[in-house]
C-alpha cells in the first residue's frame, strides 16, 4: 500500500495568551488550541472537519502549513515531515498545499486587480514564466472556475461574494496543488450560492484529482463533499469515520447532538427525530474540563469521564468516549 498523501500524528498547538495590562513578567496563560490530533489523508480524498466555533479547526489548517508553530508530525507522501522544514525548504511544498479562506472579500487584496491576485502564487513559484504566459494561465483558470476571463482587470469590490470565492479558488488552484484546504469556504455566503461553490469544489476535485480538507462548523455542509469526517471538540478528535457511517450511525454523544441539530428535509422524519440539545456553553479553551473535554455538556457522562481522558479507539470508525464500545459502536 502506498503511503498516504498526508499523515498527521499527535498534532498539538498551544498559544500563549497575555491579557492586556498584564505585567511583562507575569507568565502568559497557555491555550491548547489543538491537543493531539491524528489523521491520514489519501490522494484525491476529502476529509471533512466539523466542530463549533473556537474548537481549533482553523488552527489545524494553519498548523499543517507552518502558519502557526506546532508540534507532532505532518508527514507528506510518507517522506517529509513538514513541521521540521525550514521556511526556505517549506517553500517548495507551499505550492502543493493551497488554502481557500472563509471571508471571500477579505481574502482578496482590495488594491489588486483580479488578474494579479490570481497570478500571485504563480509568480511566486514560477518566476520564469513570461507576462503573457501568466496571463494566459490566469484566464484559463478563471474560465475553469466559472469567471469571465475578460474580467481580469477588475477589482474584488466589483464582484459578488460567490464570485470572490471563485477568485480565491482560482488563486489556490493555479499552481496545481495536490491538497486544497478549504477553511469554511461557504460560511460567509448566501445559502443559494453555497451549493454552487460546493459543487464547483467537488467538480474541480474530481477533475484534478485533488485531496481536500474541508472545514465547516455544520455537518450538513460537509455531508455531501466528504469521504470521511472528523468531529473536533476543544482541540480533540471526538469521532472520525467514513461520511456514510457517521451520518447513518453516529456513536459519540457530541456527534449525535450535532446531527440532531441538522434539519431533515422530510417533515415527517423531522418531527419524529429526537433533539439532543447541547446544554451550556463551550468551556473556555484556557481551562478545559478534566478527563473528557465534552463532559460538562454530555447527557450521559459518568464519574469516570472526569478522571480519565477517553482514547480514540476503533478501526475505520474511531470514537473517543468511555461509554461507547469501540468494536460495536454501541453505547454501554
Amino acid at each position: 500500500m502506498t503511503a498516504p498523501l498526508l499523515d498527521v500524528r499527535d498534532l498539538r498547538v498551544s498559544f500563549h495568551i497575555r491579557r492586556d495590562g498584564d505585567m511583562p513578567w507575569t507568565k502568559p496563560r497557555e491555550l491548547k488550541a489543538l491537543n493531539g490530533v491524528n489523521f491520514t489523508l489519501n490522494a484525491g480524498e476529502t476529509l471533512g472537519i466539523v466542530g463549533e466555533s473556537g474548537c481549533g479547526k482553523s488552527t489545524l489548517a494553519r498548523a499543517l502549513i507552518q502558519m502557526v508553530p506546532a508540534t507532532g508530525k505532518v508527514i507528506w507522501q510518507g517522506q517529509t515531515d513538514l513541521l521540521t522544514l525550514s521556511p526556505h525548504q517549506m517553500l517548495a511544498y507551499r505550492s502543493q498545499v493551497q488554502m481557500v479562506f472563509q471571508d471571500p472579500l477579505a481574502s482578496l487584496n482590495p488594491r489588486m486587480s483580479v488578474g494579479s491576485i490570481i497570478a500571485e502564487p504563480l509568480r511566486t513559484h514560477h518566476p520564469e514564466l513570461s507576462q503573457a504566459q501568466v496571463k494566459q494561465r490566469v484566464q484559463e483558470m478563471m474560465e475553469r472556475v466559472g469567471l469571465l476571463p475578460n474580467q481580469i482587470n477588475r477589482y474584488p469590490h466589483e464582484f459578488s461574494g460567490g464570485q470572490c470565492q471563485r477568485i480565491g479558488i482560482a488563486r489556490a488552484l493555479i499552481v496545481g496543488p495536490k491538497l486544497l484546504i478549504c477553511d469554511e469556504p461557504v460560511s460567509a455566503l448566501d445559502v443559494s450560492i453555497q451549493a454552487q461553490v460546493i459543487n464547483l469544489l467537488a467538480e474541480l476535485q474530481r477533475d484534478l484529482g485533488l485531496a481536500m480538507i474541508f472545514i465547516a462548523h455544520d455537518l450538513s455542509v460537509v455531508k455531501h463533499i466528504s469521504d470521511r469526517v472528523m468531529v473536533l471538540y476543544l482541540g480533540r478528535t471526538m469521532e472520525l469515520a467514513e461520511s456514510q457511517a457517521l451520518f447513518a450511525h453516529a456513536a459519540h454523544p457530541y456527534t449525535k447532538a450535532l446531527l440532531s441539530a441538522v434539519p431533515i428535509p422530510d417533515p415527517v422524519k423531522e418531527r419524529a427525530k429526537t433533539m439532543i440539545p447541547l446544554e451550556g456553553d463551550l468551556p473556555s479553551p484556557m481551562a478545559p474540563p478534566s478527563g473528557c473535554v465534552f463532559r460538562t455538556r454530555c447527557p450521559i457522562s459518568q464519574d469516570r469521564c472526569a478522571r480519565e481522558v477517553p482514547a480514540l479507539l476503533g478501526i475505520g470508525h474511531e470514537v473517543a468516549c468511555h461509554r461507547v464500545n469501540a468494536a460495536t459502536l454501541e453505547t454501554v
Binding site: A106, E143, Q151
Partner: protein, 308 residues
C-alpha cells in the same frame, strides 16, 4: 450567476470578448474627491498660493530686501497698498514691499510645512509599520517609547532647543519634524496591526510570498490612504507650529521671514493704523490652513472605504 451555466460553445466567444476595464479603489477615490467641490476648490487655491509664493517675487516691482526710502519712517501714511507705488500690498515700517515679503513668507511657511511633514511621515511610517508588523514584545517596547515621548510637551522642548542651539531653519525643520512623527507612528502601527491579520495577507504568506513582498505589495498600498490623509492634515499643523514659534520671535531670522513672523510684525503695527501689515499675511495664513484642512477632509471622505 450567469457564468456558472456556460455551454462549451460560449467559451470561445468569451475569450474573444474585450477585456473589461476595472475600477480600482484609487480611481473610485479620485472620482469621489472630484465630486467634493470644497476640496477641489481648495486644491486649486493651494496650487495658486504655491505658485504665488514662488513667482510672486519676480512679478513684484520691488524685491523683498529693497527698502523704499520714500516710505521709511512714515509707513502708516505713505506705505499703504497702491498700484501706483508698486507696493500692491503696501510696505512694512522699514519700507520693505509686503507683496514680495508675503510671497517669501508663504514660501518659507509652506516649506516648513512640507519638509517637517516629510520627516514626520518618513520616520512615523517606518517606525509604525515595523512596530506593527513585527509585533509582540518589540511592538510593546516601541510603543511605550512613543508614549513616553508624547508625554513631553514638545513646544516647550522645541523652544528650549531653539534657545540653546540658536535659531536656524535647520533646527526648526528637525525640531518640528522629529517631534511630530509620534501621531503618525501610532496611526500607521494601528493600521498595520489590523492589516497583518487580514486574510489576504495570510493567503499570501500561505502561498510562500516573502515578507518584504508582502509589505510592498499588500501592506504599503493599503496604508497609503491613511498616510495621505494624515499627511495633508499634518502640514497645516506644522505651519501652525512654526508660526507660533515665529510669533514668539524664536522662528526664522531676518532677512528670511515666514507667515508667522509677518503676522507678528503686523500685529505690532495695529496701534499705528497700518492694518494692511497684518491683514495680508493673516489672509494667506488662514486661507492656506483652511485649504489644507478641506483637502484633507476631502481625501479622507474619498479614501475611507467604510462610507460605501
Amino acid at each position: 450567476m450567469v457564468t456558472a451555466n456556460l455551454r462549451a460553445g460560449d467559451l470561445s466567444r468569451i475569450t474573444d470578448m474585450a477585456e473589461v476595464k476595472g475600477r480600482s479603489l484609487w480611481a473610485d477615490a479620485r472620482k469621489r474627491f472630484m465630486l467634493n467641490k470644497a476640496a477641489v476648490a481648495s486644491l486649486f487655491v493651494l496650487i495658486f498660493i504655491t505658485l504665488f509664493s514662488f513667482a510672486g517675487e519676480s512679478i513684484a516691482p520691488w524685491t523683498n530686501e529693497e527698502i523704499d526710502f520714500n516710505v521709511i519712517g512714515s509707513a502708516d501714511t505713505k506705505g499703504m497698498p497702491s498700484i501706483a507705488s508698486g507696493h500692491y500690498f503696501g510696505t512694512d515700517d522699514l519700507g520693505r514691499d509686503l507683496f514680495a515679503r508675503s510671497a517669501q513668507g508663504t514660501r518659507i511657511s509652506l516649506m516648513v510645512g512640507f519638509v517637517g511633514t516629510f520627516i514626520a511621515v518618513l520616520v512615523g511610517t517606518v517606525y509604525g509599520a515595523v512596530s506593527g508588523y513585527v509585533g509582540g514584545r518589540t511592538d510593546a517596547i516601541m510603543m511605550r517609547i512613543v508614549d513616553i515621548l508624547s508625554a513631553i510637551p514638545y513646544m516647550f522642548v522645541l523652544i528650549l532647543l531653539l534657545v540653546m542651539f540658536g535659531r536656524s531653519m535647520f533646527m526648526i525643520f528637525v525640531g518640528i519634524g522629529l517631534l511630530s512623527w509620534l501621531g503618525m507612528a501610532r496611526i500607521v502601527r494601528g493600521q498595520t496591526l489590523s492589516l497583518k491579520h487580514k486574510e489576504y495577507i495570510e493567503a499570501a504568506r500561505a502561498s510562500g510570498v516573502s515578507s518584504w513582498k508582502i509589505i510592498l505589495r499588500h501592506i504599503l498600498p493599503n496604508l497609503l490612504g491613511v498616510v495621505a490623509v494624515y499627511t495633508t492634515l499634518l502640514i497645516p499643523d506644522m505651519i501652525m507650529a512654526e508660526s507660533f514659534i515665529s510669533f514668539l520671535g524664536l522662528g526664522v531670522q531676518e532677512p528670511l521671514t515666514s507667515l508667522g513672523a509677518l503676522i507678528s510684525e503686523g500685529s505690532k503695527s495695529i496701534v499705528q493704523g497700518s492694518l494692511w501689515q497684518l491683514y495680508f499675511p493673516l489672509a494667506f495664513f488662514t486661507v492656506t490652513l483652511y485649504a489644507f484642512y478641506f483637502v484633507g477632509d476631502g481625501l479622507r471622505d474619498a479614501l475611507d472605504p467604510k462610507d460605501r
